[in-house]
Symmetry: C2
Subunit: 158 residues, 2 copies
DNA sequence: GGATTTCTTGGCACGGTATGCCAAAGATCG
DNA sequence: CGATCTTTGGCATACCGTGCCAAGAAATCC
């Protein structure tokens, strides 16, 4: 994946599509100061280069009855790459786990889990998470309030 | 916000738009087994009810030169509301902080920070994060590998 | 059980949009 | 300064979004 060179117009395009992914190409073109044709071409290039990975509708968790977000720190038994691979594969298959990162620090993995309520989390924790391969310790941090979620990526450094 | 009643077709619509937010209404209609007219109406209703909060392009962090993701645990001096409100307001204005939750457990706030490199994080940490109002302790957990990011919300519980 | 009411669907028409193509303008480099 | 390469803008066509109305299905009520 060769890193693409982005100019000021590309940055404006990305910022606009990050704000509203369903912008019409005509609207987008006007917003970035281009005519529709070259604007659409730039968007296609950004998509093909992988800068734009895709487009997603962002859903409201509360409206969907997903009232509980939990950040779960997981420690695994160390020095076992096959075990860690198994853990990653298992986590990827869990729909309730919307994010998972290998991290430095106290925990080895940091998961973001979304469930309807505490009862659902209890089931997930006891029946699934604690039984994942190689897990030695689990720490649950419940989200009490969301200050900022899924904020746009910063582009000012370009 | 009265919770909207969602049937199987609505669920399919949400799943499809979560997968590809730029789906044409015609494509979407065919995918969920409806003709375009009622399909579009349902999408509009979901938008107005707030179930669909918006549409966003998902960008590739590595391609944008945002190579470093850090999960930052922040402790504040007290849970007194004025201090916490100041902290939240300040965090919301930081572009590098893409997510921030008030959480239970060791830390009070859990932040997700996205920066180009370690030098940028050092500057953010020393010049900004440590000077935020009421901060008493900061713990940085660096993302080493992303197993799953921004996964779709689970809808099977409906 | 049947009729009425209410909600949802599907088709149609029109205005707007996406998209490929070509010429013109601009930038780059020797 | 001139040639080459890149990017832009406009145009034409096919497709799509969107509002409207009638037909169908579902629920309700007597």
């Amino acid at each position: 994946m060769p890193k693409m060179v982005l100019d000021a117009i590309d940055r404006r395009i990305l910022a606009a599509l990050q704000r509203d992914g369903r912008l019409t190409n005509v609207q987008l073109a006007e917003e970035v100061g281009l005519s529709p044709s070259p604007c659409l071409r730039r968007v296609r290039l950004l998509e093909e280069a992988g800068v734009i990975g895709g487009y997603r509708a962002t859903l409201d968790r509360a409206e969907l009855g997903l009232g509980l977000t939990v950040f779960v720190g997981v420690k695994v038994v160390r020095h076992d790459e096959s075990g860690a691979a198994a853990f990653r594969g298992a986590v990827r298959l869990l729909p309730s786990v919307v994010a998972c990162h290998l991290v430095s620090g106290e925990s080895d993995f940091l998961l973001q889990v979304v469930v309807p309520d505490l009862a659902a989390y209890e089931r997930l924790l006891l029946d699934t998470l604690m039984r994942l391969p190689g897990v030695s310790d689990i720490r649950s941090n419940f989200a009490i309030q969301t200050v900022k979620a899924e904020g746009p990526l910063p582009l000012d450094h370009l």
